[in-house]
């Protein structure tokens, strides 16, 4: 666990005494026999244990999943989309997609070029002004994407891979120092791009209608139902402000080319 934290979170400042902490979480061994025999760990949120325990070697993924759960269930000052978010030149690109569509891999690829990481999993759109707020935590990678991301460059740090989790083999990429340092810089959203990786696929890119995109994003949001009118207005503002596209691609190179064309064009 400490190895995972020092690999993935070295650029984060520690909390001082007498500070306010949004969510107190822990990952710890349970009391009793499962501390020693086939050891397990529990995720707890301020003393409550929302999930079943996992094998101890999955402590790090459990922490990340637990944090995602805590945030997506409580941070209702944001409209939360299940999406990666990256930024360049003060403008954010939101990449909403269901698991398995290659969103995190593409996100890792982009932030190792010239994009800043805001999040690989949670687009936090502030209700008060419609800006996207960064939460630059480790990027979650699964199965084959782990090797692809390790190969992206020598600056890339990927933590220990964890086999046989509920989602297959899982590893996390350390967020770039620059992204962590600029965590309090919220950004205007400019593009929504729905990515879809297709093995050996050809590149295709098409513009999407705003109303269709709105409906898709409603389904993609974690808390649209909680926010009511505020969620409707915030999502409406987001869709109005953004160019919206769908891309499908068979390699990261194809995706980079398409995204460059969209965002520089």
């Amino acid at each position: 666990m400490s190895e995972g934290l020092s690999t993935l979170y070295p650029d984060f400042e520690l909390v001082g005494e007498d500070e306010f902490i949004d969510f107190h979480v822990s990952v710890a061994s349970p009391a009793g026999v499962r501390r020693w025999i086939r050891p397990q760990v529990n995720f707890s949120f301020d003393g409550r244990v929302p999930f079943k325990p996992l094998p101890a070697d999955q402590a790090m993924p459990m922490l990340e999943w637990g944090l995602n759960w805590v945030i997506s269930n409580h941070a209702h000052q944001y409209l939360m989309l299940h999406a990666a978010v990256v930024e360049r030149d003060g403008r954010a690109m939101i990449l909403p997609a269901p698991p398995g569509s290659g969103k995190s891999t593409l996100c890792a690829g982009l932030v190792n070029r010239d994009w800043r990481l805001l999040s690989d999993e949670l687009a936090l759109v502030r209700l008060t002004d419609g800006l996207v707020v960064p939460i630059s935590r480790p990027v979650s990678l699964k199965n084959r994407s782990i090797e692809i991301v390790r190969g992206l460059g020598k600056n890339v740090v990927v933590g220990k891979a964890c086999a046989d989790t509920g989602k297959g083999t899982v590893a996390h990429m350390r967020p770039p120092t620059e992204s962590v340092r600029r965590m309090d810089e919220a950004v205007h959203p400019a593009w929504v791009v729905f990515p879809q990786f297709i093995q050996n696929g050809e590149l295709s890119c098409e513009a999407r209608g705003k109303s269709t995109a709105f409906v898709e994003l409603v389904h993609n949001a974690f808390n649209y139902n909680v926010l009511g009118l505020a969620g409707f207005n915030t999502l409406g503002g987001l869709v109005e402000a953004c160019d919206i596209h769908r891309i499908s691609y068979g390699s990261l190179e194809q995706a980079y080319a398409a995204i460059d064309a969209l965002t520089r064009g």
Partner: protein, 364 residues
């Protein structure tokens, strides 16, 4: 200030907000979340114009809870419309209880509150037809195993909760306020007869308990209950007393009613502990009245030791050994009150020994 009393103290004295340190806010927000009173706390701090007197990060959590409570109000309203449609053909009196009643009657107690289900009270003779009409309209009985079904139907004051198949919402259908096994002769027909209509025409099918009865039910629910959300229920009581108690004649009428319904004991507790913990205004003559003549000084001291701790939030910052013991004793006490020993012992044995096996077998 002792950390264990932070949230209770601030509910009582919202003007104190500016005196708390950032570290105290850190504990306080978590206590409020555990006790499920964050929205209610927001309402009190807002009334006292204190929302500017706290760290921005803490305010954010309170505001989120407040906004969530507004959303719950819409959801409850929508749910009530569905229930009204379902029950209208029966043309029977339907009395809303607890949170849904506070909301429908526009009571202050509904402000900031979250709702987990809708509770209704119907005449006992109509239970079968009410259950059938809910099933025909998309509600599904929960607790389907034979033991739980018998537990509810033979011993409890309500049917097993029903859940709407599509919306996932829960409804509790009561025929009286307390399990018959408590031995309290609470006359449900008198409560239904005194119930009052709602102003909102959309919700015209429903009534709510008359003011004294509403307070008595809230007190009964807390002091005969399992104490798992005790502080939230105490805040409900405090808010009801602040609002209803200001009406002229409320207290004499409530005391007379409690005597008639055999509910003086929960009224005594409600008055004592809202006043002690939340500073609820109670007229001097009510505080001096021996509401429960069976209460000896020794017994009162013991109950104080129990309750004053058991109301603390179930949070690490409050969990010294004595508080944990008090919480456990309050839970045991509720079962003791709810069932005579010849029923209670077999019930607890069943729940401890047989039910886990059955659940495991069912899961496989």
């Amino acid at each position: 200030m002792a950390h264990s009393d932070l949230v209770v103290t601030l509910l009582r004295e919202p003007g104190n907000a500016a005196n708390l340190s950032t570290g105290e806010w850190d504990v306080l927000v978590r206590q409020a979340r555990h006790a499920d009173v964050m929205g209610q706390l927001h309402a009190r701090l807002s009334d006292a114009e204190q929302l500017g007197n706290m760290p921005e990060a803490a305010r954010q959590h309170l505001e989120t809870a407040w906004n969530l409570s507004l959303r719950h109000r819409l959801a409850v309203h929508w749910e009530l419309l569905g229930i009204a449609d379902t029950l209208a053909p029966l043309a029977i009196p339907v009395v809303l209880l607890k949170g849904a009643a506070y909301y429908a009657a526009g009571r202050m107690a509904s402000r900031g509150r979250l709702f987990t289900d809708v509770d209704i009270l119907v005449p006992k003779g109509t239970l079968d037809s009410v259950e059938q009409v809910f099933i025909r309209n998309g509600w599904v009985p929960t607790h389907m195993n034979a033991y739980d079904q018998r537990y509810y139907r033979a011993w409890m004051h309500e049917l097993p909760p029903m859940q709407h198949a599509r919306r996932g919402t829960l409804i509790d259908i009561h025929h009286t306020l307390l399990p018959p096994t408590t031995g309290v002769r609470c006359d449900a027909a008198a409560l239904i007869a005194a119930a009052q209509p709602l102003e909102d025409a959309e919700l015209g099918v429903f009534k709510v308990l008359a003011p004294s009865d509403m307070l008595l039910h809230s007190a009964t629910h807390l002091f005969y209950g399992e104490f798992d959300r005790a502080l939230r229920e105490l805040v409900d009581l405090d808010q009801l007393i602040r609002e209803l108690g200001a009406e002229p004649g409320f207290w004499p009428a409530t005391i007379a009613r409690a005597r008639q319904l055999d509910l003086l004991n929960p009224l005594h507790h409600a008055v004592r502990y809202t006043h002690l913990l939340l500073g609820t205004p109670i007229p001097e003559e009510v505080l001096r009245t021996a509401l429960d003549p069976s209460m000896s000084a020794v017994r009162q001291r013991l109950l104080d030791a129990l309750f004053l701790r058991a109301f603390r939030p179930d949070h690490a910052s409050c969990n010294d050994a004595a508080t944990r013991l008090a919480r456990w004793l309050a839970f045991v006490r509720s079962h003791w009150l709810r069932m005579p020993i010849h029923l209670l012992v077999p019930h607890l044995l069943y729940k401890a020994v047989i039910a886990p096996h059955k659940e495991e077998a069912a899961a496989q």
